[in-house]
């Protein structure tokens, strides 16, 4: 791999854009591929699959061994609401390898005492998102229960195609949320993507247990990326 390709790969990774390098193992020749670029002949499926799953793979094409190394951005979790559940969720998510951001305009909640050593934003989601736009490799968990805070980032996450959109609240709360989102232009298909009630159903009760259920839900969404989970 020459320096120009290495620099380009690193630039794409810093910008949180998916990128792949195809190496012709016999010749040592390399080629950079961005998501959506035309893949070389015979590699369309392998390239598409690598971008979808994030799995790098050795492929044989035209009698040549090619290695397809794909780099997807590290997953990020934006938690809307600096509540009790978020305190546990932020820690668990960091351990699971996520970059975590906490957003809550209520300064009584968003304090460094409650969220030590975490990236905390005591501002409205609208302001936060203007500075740090969502992307498909970001999960959004809205847990304030307050439509004034939760609704806008939920809609933004659906419009961006975030790989996970979860919203805390009872079925009744969610039903009124759905009504508001539809009125603000969300499609039925988008609504179906919202994980609500949030988290896998593991009978979670305490805030920390609910955090476990949420992170499990998020990991499943990340690893299946819209496909059914593999058994086992």
């Amino acid at each position: 791999m020459d320096t120009s390709i290495l620099k380009a790969v690193n630039a794409e990774r810093r910008a949180r854009r998916p990128v792949a390098v195809i190496t012709h193992l016999a010749e040592g020749r390399c080629q950079l591929i961005r998501e959506g670029d035309a893949a070389p002949t015979g590699l369309h499926e392998a390239v598409a699959s690598a971008f979808r799953t994030g799995k790098s793979v050795l492929v044989e094409a035209d009698g040549q061994s090619l290695f397809l190394n794909v780099h997807l951005p590290p997953p990020r979790l934006v938690v809307i609401g600096a509540v009790h559940i978020s305190q546990a969720l932020a820690l668990i998510a960091q351990i699971a390898g996520f970059d975590v951001e906490i957003v809550d305009p209520r300064t009584a909640f968003a304090t460094a005492d409650r969220f030590p050593n975490l990236s905390l934003h005591a501002e409205w989601p609208e302001q936060y998102l203007a500075d740090a736009p969502l992307d498909p490799f970001t999960a959004v968990a809205a847990v304030t229960h307050d439509p004034k805070i939760d609704d806008l980032p939920i809609k933004a996450a659906l419009d961006t195609g975030c790989f996970y959109v979860g919203a805390l609240g009872s079925r009744k709360t969610h039903a009124s949320r759905v009504k508001r989102l539809l009125e603000s232009g969300a499609s039925e298909e988008q609504i179906a993507r919202i994980s609500a009630p949030i988290g896998l159903d593991i009978g979670a009760s305490s805030p920390a247990e609910i955090a476990v259920a949420i992170i499990a839900d998020i990991v499943r969404a990340l690893r299946t990326r819209g496909l059914p989970a593999e058994p086992g």
Binding site: D2, T3, K7, R14, S56, L58, F67, N69, I95
Partner: protein, 110 residues
């Protein structure tokens, strides 16, 4: 750069920095695994001509051998493919105690 418990630190970022400092650098990449390999396909290790390294291609089992081979790759500027597994005679020294096998592509960056 983002780091996680199983992904820190980042070999490709280090490779760019090291090349910028004028160091001679090789990159090792896991291209194939069988059985219970410790690091997934695509895992990378960057090595310089002084034997400094960053990243990983296994749980520490074969890094030493890869670093040694990387010196030849840097000197000859010819990529090579290394294979490690418990079937190796050297299993106790550089094999994978987990029972897996891996193939590692080593190339010079220039």
């Amino acid at each position: 750069m983002h780091t996680t418990i199983d992904e820190a630190p980042d070999a490709l970022t280090a490779a760019e920095v090291w090349l910028g400092e004028g160091r001679k650098v090789a990159l090792a990449t896991v291209i194939e695994t069988w059985g219970s390999a410790p690091r997934p396909v695509g895992s990378q290790l960057v090595i310089d001509s002084d034997g400094n390294f960053l990243g990983s291609v296994s749980g520490g089992c074969v890094e030493g051998a890869v670093i040694t081979e990387a010196q030849d790759v840097i000197a000859e500027n010819q990529p090579r493919i290394l294979e490690f597994g418990v079937a190796d005679e050297t299993a106790w020294r550089v094999g994978l105690s987990c029972g897996g096998r891996i193939r590692v592509y080593v190339e010079r960056l220039s």
